[in-house]
């Protein structure tokens, strides 16, 4: 099957949605506030980028609740968890996805907020400034609507894209690669090399922790030596850049040394089909220049004149030890990728009939502590990823607790897994240990939420 890009040979424009949500903030002084994209607006409008024949600006729309329910188990409900701003940010990615899949544009950039890559499948509230996962919502929408199967998501935010990783952890058709500042030195404290995917999807999650102060050179090395060769082998039908801008050398929340030139070059090398903005909080010193560079690069235009006022080439360089650290990580991960088939076979054997793991998840923004047990059926059918159940219990603030049980059936699950999963859902409707029972049936695009207290069911 040809990728949309091959089919889109005729389109030359990049699609752009700029949605700065000038009337939305988490709180007035939060980094995720009205002002965040103000100077970016000034710069890209003053450049006249929207007038370029290579750029087509689109208008955002609201995502539907069903688009959210396709990915998330929202507690207590989709309606309660998302604001209109979230629906618009997610909806923007869907507008661009449609334009891209219909061949109107060559590639696309959703320069939107609020962000989403820390949101996991179960969403009790806001963590890492994210309520719902824009990229996952877009990818699942595209896979559902256009029948695409193999997708690669490259998370270039400085923070580990733990939400996206978690959502696709067991999906062998979604390659998730994240490079980020080492989790031992930065939120969310995960994204280590041994997080490699579920038993049936080993090597489909690749984490590249980088030492603090890694400059352009280091990230480009990782891209060239590891990411691009893997992409070439994986042959995705869609490449998504989960495009954070906080690797920048002036970002107030992280410690990397990436420049606007570095970001532009990264997007030129990676050539994503669709990029979606994530973090980036150096709202004056980085974002106006980084976004200008990314737009020019994706539009195929000369970005060599984009630079921060205090930047000069060669300003940052790598030390020997940093270089050794990065090459070591890259070599190790190349090994994992190359051995992914054997590693998968071993992991499946080790798991037995069900693979189980326990997780503690902290929602920094909303102050929620969640405990989860995830259980995946290791279906004997090798091509079936199996269905999954999640048992969740979350404590908000001082003591108010919400619990849920979710059943998730992936798109390519076999018939017997689908039937078994539905029985699980029906059986748990009377299980009073849980407040909410969820059901996601990708194959039938059917999403249900049952409240055991109210005894009612909502179908999305």
């Amino acid at each position: 099957m040809k990728s949309p890009r091959e089919l889109n040979g005729g389109a030359r424009k990049m699609g752009l949605i700029f949605f700065p949500a000038f009337d939305w903030a988490i709180t007035p002084t939060h980094p995720e506030r009205e002002e965040r994209l103000l100077y970016t607006r000034d710069q890209i409008f003053e450049e006249g980028l929207m007038d370029l024949p290579e750029v087509e600006e689109y208008k955002p729309r609201l995502a539907e609740h069903k688009d959210i329910a396709r990915v998330h188990f929202c507690i207590p409900s989709v309606e309660a968890l998302v604001t209109e701003a979230h629906l618009i940010a997610a909806g923007s990615t869907l507008v661009l996805a449609d334009a891209y899949m219909k061949g109107e544009i060559n590639n696309a950039f959703a320069l939107v907020r609020p962000p989403g890559h820390h949101s996991m499948r179960v969403a009790h509230g806001n963590r890492g400034f994210c309520n719902v996962n824009n990229e996952a919502i877009m990818v699942e929408y595209i896979r559902r609507k256009y029948g695409i199967r193999r997708v690669a998501i490259i998370d270039t935010d400085v923070h580990h894209g733990d939400g996206t990783q978690e959502i696709f952890y067991h999906d062998p058709d979604v390659l998730f690669i994240s490079f980020h500042q080492d989790g031992r030195t930065l939120y969310p404290g995960s994204g280590f090399v041994d997080e490699q995917g579920g038993p049936k999807a080993i090597g489909r999650t690749i984490n590249i922790p980088l030492p603090p102060e890694t400059p352009d050179e280091g990230i480009h090395y990782v891209l060239e030596e590891l990411v691009l060769p893997i992409l070439e082998e994986f042959r995705p039908q869609l490449v998504v850049n989960s495009a954070g801008q906080d690797n920048h050398y002036t970002d107030p929340l992280a410690n990397m040394r990436f420049s606007a030139q570095g970001y532009a070059r990264l997007n030129e090398m990676l050539a994503p089909d669709i990029a979606v903005l994530e973090g980036g909080y150096a709202i004056e010193s980085a974002l106006p220049y980084v976004n200008c560079g990314i737009i020019l690069a994706m539009a195929g235009l000369d970005y060599s004149n984009v630079r921060e006022p205090d930047y000069h080439p060669g300003r940052f360089s790598m030390s020997r030890s940093m270089e050794a650290n990065i090459t070591g990580t890259v070599e190790y991960l190349q090994g994992v990728w190359d051995a992914r088939e054997e590693l998968t076979a071993k992991a499946v054997e080790r798991a037995g009939p069900f693979f189980r793991r326990h997780k503690n998840i902290f929602y920094d923004t909303d102050g929620i502590r969640e405990r989860q047990t995830e259980s995946v059926k290791m279906c004997p059918d090798r091509s079936c990823p199996g269905y999954m159940t999640i048992d969740t219990d979350a404590v908000r603030g001082y003591g108010q607790s919400e619990s849920g049980f979710g059943v998730f059936v992936p798109l390519f699950a076999c018939k017997s897994c689908r039937e078994e999963a539905r029985e699980e859902y029906e059986a748990h409707k009377t299980d009073s240990r849980y407040n909410y029972i969820f059901f996601q049936e990708k194959n039938r695009d059917e999403y249900r939420l049952y409240s055991t207290r109210m005894h009612n069911e909502r179908v999305y």
Partner: protein, 560 residues
């Protein structure tokens, strides 16, 4: 009495209005080489026998600048631009002599790189050697800090003999540097020719003992006193479609949503009035290949008119884009939409037997009768117009939005009226209206609606105020003024009050103080600037406007 004159591409139309009623009209062919004479001929025809002291207001709309630019008859201009970091400046589609100089200002108006004055000096010498006498200087973000543009102007003035220099921040305060540079260049290019024209008009009118104030119509449907308009020559382009739209506004019930259909010989201009407000294009007008910052109504020009060439193509009717006219029924050589409409008795001009002959010929190519061919032509024309009108509403709905409320409130709207003006509208407008489920209106005096629109349009004015309290200053984009803000507590209320004071001042300087009270707040936004978790200042953006509208002499008078 009010006078409106529209010097259009084909005809020059004039009206005399007394107590809300059109009492005299005139129409003379436009001679492109003698626009002033056309204007005066049309004027003289309607003022004959009218005591000059009874005339209270004269408004002119003219294609002068549009023509000069289209024909390349404006003065050559050299540009000196300071692009700073960003796009490769070679990628800007600016034509002619462009000198690029080093230096940069950022989005908050801070100097991030000093202006390279030697380079400006050298550029000016080159420009002088090449014989330019008009220079435009523009700096990226020059509207937020005028210092570099002013310095470039001073160097140019000191180096190039007899030069006239225009600065970017005086041409527009809106974001978009390439558009601002182009607008500045056009302004410099058109200035002298326009001034000459304005002076001749003033003299000719004074010679007729008319002492009433004289205004010129702009592309945004607003008027400007002739004397002040010499500072804003390019704003007078595309005033023709603006005149027609204002005419429709004047001739239809207030507050309604209408499509304005102005069908001429070879083109049809479409414009929208939404809930009684003409729709302004969200971007500035395109002038030839230049994208500019000139505020203009969103007008769509379709290559379809009464004289368009009609032929069979692959068994179907094709119309335009070229002209065949005059119509066969009016002595022309080829079939046109006018012939089709004549045969179907939708209009009564021309010889019906000739129309029949024209349609018969077309029918042979299409394999049908003359009557069927005529119906197919009319259907095709209506289809084209419907498609374009729906496209315009869709484009309006699909305009990008940057705020949550904008996305939530934008609803789908459809027209209540389809209003025909211009010669060719009579036959098609009722059919288009029927298809859109709207009321078809051909107002009385439809053929001079443009001149009526000019006569009764009021001034428009925009003021873009921006304050940066952390840096302690404000700018007014359109005036090129900057001032200090000392009050650390300067907030939204203070900003709005200040903008209101400033627009009243500005109206005074423009000679339209009596309309200052009409100014409304169109946008007001505050961004709290947070540095290190505490508020360090605010950015306040306030826009005030006197929007396009009708003068009270009309709305209070005999309007239907």
């Amino acid at each position: 009495m009010l006078i409106g004159i529209d010097v259009g591409g084909t005809t020059t139309d004039a009206v005399l209005i007394d107590e809300g009623k059109v009492i005299k009209t005139s129409k003379v062919p436009t001679d492109h080489d003698h626009l002033l004479e056309c204007l005066l001929t049309a004027l003289d025809e309607i003022v004959r026998g009218v005591p000059p002291e009874r005339i209270e207001r004269v408004v002119l709309s003219t294609t002068l600048i549009t023509n000069l630019i289209a024909e390349g008859k404006t003065d050559p201009v050299a540009l000196i631009i300071e692009p700073g970091p960003g796009m490769n400046p070679e990628g800007y589609s600016l034509e002619g002599e462009v000198q690029i100089v080093r230096g940069a200002i950022d989005y908050r108006g801070r100097e991030i790189e000093a202006l390279d004055e030697d380079q400006v000096q050298k550029a000016a010498v080159k420009i002088a050697e090449r014989g330019y006498r008009k220079v435009a200087v523009a700096s990226k973000f020059g509207q937020r800090n005028h210092a570099h543009e002013e310095r470039m102007r001073d160097i140019a003035l000191g180096t190039i003999p007899g030069v006239h220099v225009e600065m970017g921040h005086r041409a527009s305060g809106r974001l978009n540097f390439p558009r601002r540079a182009a607008t500045t260049a056009l302004k410099a290019a058109a200035m002298d020719e326009y001034r000459k024209f304005a002076e001749e008009v003033a003299k000719a009118i004074a010679g007729r003992k008319i002492e009433a104030p004289v205004y010129i119509l702009k592309a945004d449907g607003g008027t400007l006193p002739l004397a002040t308009s010499v500072e804003h020559p390019v704003e007078t382009i595309f005033s023709g479609p603006a005149a027609s739209t204002m005419g429709v506004l004047a001739l239809t019930p207030a507050g309604q949503t209408s499509v304005v259909v102005d069908i001429g010989g070879t083109t049809t201009d479409l414009a929208l009035i939404l809930d009684g407000s003409p729709l302004i294009s969200s971007e500035g007008a395109r002038v030839n290949s230049y994208l500019t910052h000139i505020r203009a109504f969103a007008v769509k020009s379709v290559a379809l008119g009464g004289d368009s060439r009609v032929r069979a193509e692959g068994g179907r009717v094709a119309i335009g884009p070229d002209r065949a006219g005059p119509a066969f029924c009016l002595g022309g050589a080829e079939p046109t939409p006018t012939d089709a409409m004549r045969l179907l008795n939708l209009i009564s001009i021309g010889e019906r037997s000739l129309a029949d002959e024209a349609m018969k010929k077309l029918g042979e190519d299409l394999g049908c009768s003359a009557g069927e061919a005529a119906q197919k032509v009319v259907d095709a024309a209506v289809e084209m117009l419907i498609g374009e009108i729906e496209g315009m509403f869709l484009a309006w709905e699909e305009e990008p939005a940057y705020r949550v409320w904008e996305i939530l409130q934008k609803e789908k709207i459809r027209p209540q009226n389809v209003v025909g003006v211009g010669g060719g509208s009579l036959g098609l407008v009722p059919l288009v209206a029927e298809r859109l489920g709207a009321r078809g209106i051909i107002p009385e005096n439809a053929t001079v609606a443009n001149a009526i629109g000019a006569a009764v349009a009021r001034p428009t004015l925009t003021l873009t105020f921006r304050a940066d309290t952390e840096r302690g200053f404000y700018t007014v984009a359109e005036d090129g003024t900057t001032g200090e803000i000392r009050n650390r507590k300067f907030g939204q209320k203070e900003a709005e009050e200040m903008a209101k004071r400033l627009i009243i001042d500005r109206a005074g300087r423009m000679g339209i103080e009596e309309y200052a009270a009409e100014a409304v707040l169109t946008a007001s936004e505050v961004f709290n600037m947070v540095r290190g978790w505490s508020t360090s200042g605010r950015i306040l953006d306030v826009t005030m406007q006197i929007p396009a509208g009708l003068i009270p002499e009309w709305t209070g008078g005999g309007r239907g």
